[in-house]
């Protein structure tokens, strides 16, 4: 679409990143070949093959767990909290120092816009290590004791590859655990760069082990008998499989799973701000956000006006090259995910909802989906119930606060919710009644290392971030 405000391309340089043709596994402080096959990771914006990555087998996972156990027993659990803290501070600082490199690599491997990886992901990653570094020598004040669990097996998703790594590794290490972490198969590169950062920080070998691979590698980590704690972020379906796999064992588990967040706009809300919040809620990171505000509940009296303003705003979203500094919406992470988004959107149309997509020219290569909104959605529609995990918004209306609460809570998920109103008492009343782990009032999709994050119901259990995030990695004062 041509507007008076066309921007010239402003691409971030790739020169700052050195991608190797192939990568091994990071076990016991070194890169090793592993015993499995190699798989390719591609740039979702261009479909260019970026590198070959090793697929860890059961034997590789076993080696990684053994390395983690050795490091736990001999070094890490014996070290004073103050010394552990220094390593975490070092890592935080190196992440800040190499921020540009990490941001560019994250955007290349994941497809997310550089302005998000540069301004959100990487700064929050560094902040997480900084925050938890400070806890390492203060655990006895946390209320959860100060005894680590042992070896943590951690499996993370592709939507925020480095941020999820930080959410998992920083608290685990601060509490004195060692880790075996598996990044997602479509986004392994920044985790492998993080392994180099661990080397630069002189982190003792085996404290952090990174094994790449897909579902089988993840299952091997979860099932390994010498893993004391399992931490997973990903789909509800896999979360349930993990809950079954650890049943009858002593393993401690935290699960951060899917969501279908209601973003509730009342008629007295500042509408332009609300529209910005709606856009941020669902189109941030291409909608690849478990807490995305994917169900817009708008009060009937302002529904037409909100939709008009929303469509006008959506038409200004710039979709395209993730490395362009003016890009708002980047590439869908994989062909598989694109197919899923297309399928659910087609079902939305077939079930009678009205579809509207922002007019935009999508690149010929790569995986792309235009920001899309569905109106005339009912609670029974699959697009109102299932997590699409893409830039697709479903719009429902309501008349009274109670109806909004009822519709918002009418889902098996309970990760997040948004409320937009000028009335303070209504915010507090809604926040009380919404069954969700995070409630954003007059804002959306805000994250901070000091703040606990996690779900109710089928959105999983446990909290990450903040003081509460320590509980997942300590034996607990009562145990």
């Amino acid at each position: 679409m041509s507007t008076p405000f066309e921007y010239a391309p402003a691409p971030e340089s790739r020169a700052v990143v050195d991608i190797k043709p192939s990568y091994g596994l990071f076990i016991n402080g070194e890169f090793v070949d592993g015993h499995g096959k190699a798989f390719k990771t591609v740039n979702p914006a261009t479909e260019e093959v970026l590198a070959e990555v090793a697929e860890a087998t059961d034997a590789d996972v076993d080696e990684a767990v053994k390395a983690a156990r050795r490091a736990y027993t001999r070094v890490w659990s014996r070290m004073s909290g103050a010394e552990r803290a220094k390593y975490l501070y070092r890592i935080a600082r190196i992440i800040q120092e190499r921020g540009r490199e990490l941001a560019v690599l994250e955007s290349i491997d994941n497809g997310k816009p550089i302005k998000e990886s540069r301004d959100v992901d990487i700064p929050v990653v560094a902040a997480h290590f900084f925050y938890y570094a400070g806890w390492a020598d203060k655990l006895e004040y946390s209320g959860y004791g100060s005894t680590p669990l042992g070896v943590a097996g951690q499996v993370i998703p592709w939507n925020f590859p480095l941020l999820m790594l930080a959410w998992k590794i920083a608290p685990a290490l601060a509490c004195g655990n060692t880790v075996v972490l598996k990044p997602a198969e479509t986004t392994p590169l920044t985790a492998l760069l993080f392994a180099e950062i661990c080397q630069q920080a002189d982190l003792p070998p085996g404290v952090v082990n990174i094994v790449t691979g897909a579902g089988d590698t993840g299952r091997a980590i979860v099932a390994h008998p010498d893993v004391d704690k399992v931490a997973f972020t990903g789909s509800t379906e896999v979360g349930k499989a993990i809950a079954r796999a650890v049943a009858g064992t002593e393993k401690k588990v935290t699960l951060e799973l899917g969501g279908k967040a209601a973003n509730i706009v009342f008629d007295d809300a500042p509408l332009d701000q609300a529209v910005e919040g709606i856009v941020n809620g669902i189109f941030f990171n291409q909608g690849h956000v478990c807490c995305a505000g994917s169900r817009l509940l708008v009060q009937e009296s302002v529904a037409d006006e909100v939709m008009e303003r929303l469509k006008r705003r959506m038409a200004t979203l710039r979709v395209g090259d993730p490395l362009d500094k003016n890009t708002d919406v980047g590439a869908i992470n994989s062909a598989e995910q694109l197919a899923k988004i297309r399928e659910l959107s087609d079902i939305g149309e077939a079930e009678g909802a009205e579809r509207w997509s922002a007019p935009c020219d999508l690149p010929a290569n790569g995986y792309w989906f235009a920001p899309t909104v569905f109106t005339g959605v009912s609670q029974a529609h699959r697009i109102a119930r299932e997590e699409i995990f893409g830039p697709v918004l479903s719009v429902l209306t309501f008349r009274t606060p109670s109806e909004a609460v009822e519709k918002a809570n009418n889902t098996p998920f309970g990760l997040s919710a948004g409320v937009w109103t000028d009335k303070g008492s209504r915010i507090l009343s809604m926040a009380n009644r919404l069954r969700a782990g995070v409630v954003w009032a007059n804002t959306f999709n805000k994250f901070d290392p000091t703040s606990p994050f996690g779900g109710y119901k089928e959105s999983g259990y446990g909290r990450e971030g903040g003081r509460h995030g320590l509980e997942a990695y300590l034996k607990g004062a009562d145990a």
Binding site: A243, R244, A247, L255, A441, K446, D448, T450, G466, A479
Partner: protein, 286 residues
């Protein structure tokens, strides 16, 4: 001629009422010497589902009450229990074959535990909740909230154990479906009578008696139950099955601890295990 005593029919406690099992079944409960104490109701799948419906119906009202009010109701249970202590001492002596002194100690401890938990209702939020110093212009607060309907497989300890697993759940706003100890179910029903006369709304606590292995799986797989406390499960294979079933809707699980020392100070864990942390954000501006 000596007086013929009037025996009590032990029924279930569901939704504030004392219905018989819809199955029409009962099972024999003997005292410690093997003599018949009563025919207890043997709850069925339908009874379990009715209990969940009652617990769900009660959840909104109970969790929505002020913590001060929940504290008073739980304290009231202690008051009423105190007034009926002889009855409970007699039941415990018969059921467990313990000495009068031990029975008295168990009843004392159960009453004291209710009082202890009552005091937590309006303090737990302050102890486990907090404001978060966000790096940005936001006001941000984390507070605990109840998980919802919790199924509890009660331990063998008929009164103190039962009170120790139920009180921490209700004082924090959850509603509960309890599978009473299979060999010692009668005290649980009598405790239901105490709760029914303690201003505890119907449905907040529901008591099922019968076979653990028969009832618990229906509760573990029930899609409208948010958590399951397996404290009293003594069979490891059954515990694993229940934990697997609980994954159907990602119930919060407390794994078995049948050998717990109920006289020890409990700590916060039984309250916090079935709480969710909610974090609320709002921008700071003028």
């Amino acid at each position: 001629m000596s007086r013929i005593d009037v025996r009590k029919t032990y029924k279930l406690y569901i939704g504030g009422q004392f219905p018989r099992s819809e199955s029409g079944r009962s099972y024999i409960v003997n005292d410690a010497k093997g003599r018949l104490m009563a025919n207890a109701s043997q709850a069925s799948r339908k009874d379990a589902r009715d209990a969940v419906v009652a617990a769900r119906a009660a959840f909104g009202g109970w969790s929505g009450r002020t913590a001060y009010n929940r504290a008073q109701v739980v304290y009231r249970i202690a008051e009423v229990l105190e007034g009926r202590r002889e009855q409970f001492e007699a039941e415990l002596r018969a059921a467990e074959g313990i000495s009068p002194a031990k029975a008295r100690a168990a009843v004392d401890a159960a009453i004291d535990r209710l009082v202890w938990y009552a005091g937590w209702a309006d303090k737990l939020t302050q102890v486990v909740g907090n404001a978060n110093p966000v790096a940005g212009p936001y006001f941000n607060l984390s507070t605990p909230e109840p998980s919802g309907v919790i199924a509890v497989v009660a331990p063998r300890s008929p009164l103190l154990g039962l009170v120790s697993v139920v009180a921490p759940l209700i004082v924090t706003g959850n509603t509960v479906v309890v599978v009473a100890s299979e060999p010692h179910p009668l005290t649980a029903v009598t405790l239901g009578e105490v709760m029914a006369t303690s201003d505890l709304p119907g449905g907040v606590v529901n008591v099922l008696t019968g076979s653990q292995a028969e009832i618990a799986p229906w509760l573990a797989s029930h899609m409208d139950v948010n958590g399951i406390d397996l404290t009293g499960v003594e069979d490891e294979a059954l515990a694993t099955d229940l934990e697997v079933a609980a994954a159907d809707n990602l119930k919060r699980v407390r794994r078995p601890e049948p050998d717990t020392d109920w006289l020890a100070e409990p700590g916060l864990d039984r309250m916090t295990r079935f709480q969710e942390t909610k974090t609320i954000w709002h921008p700071i501006g003028v």
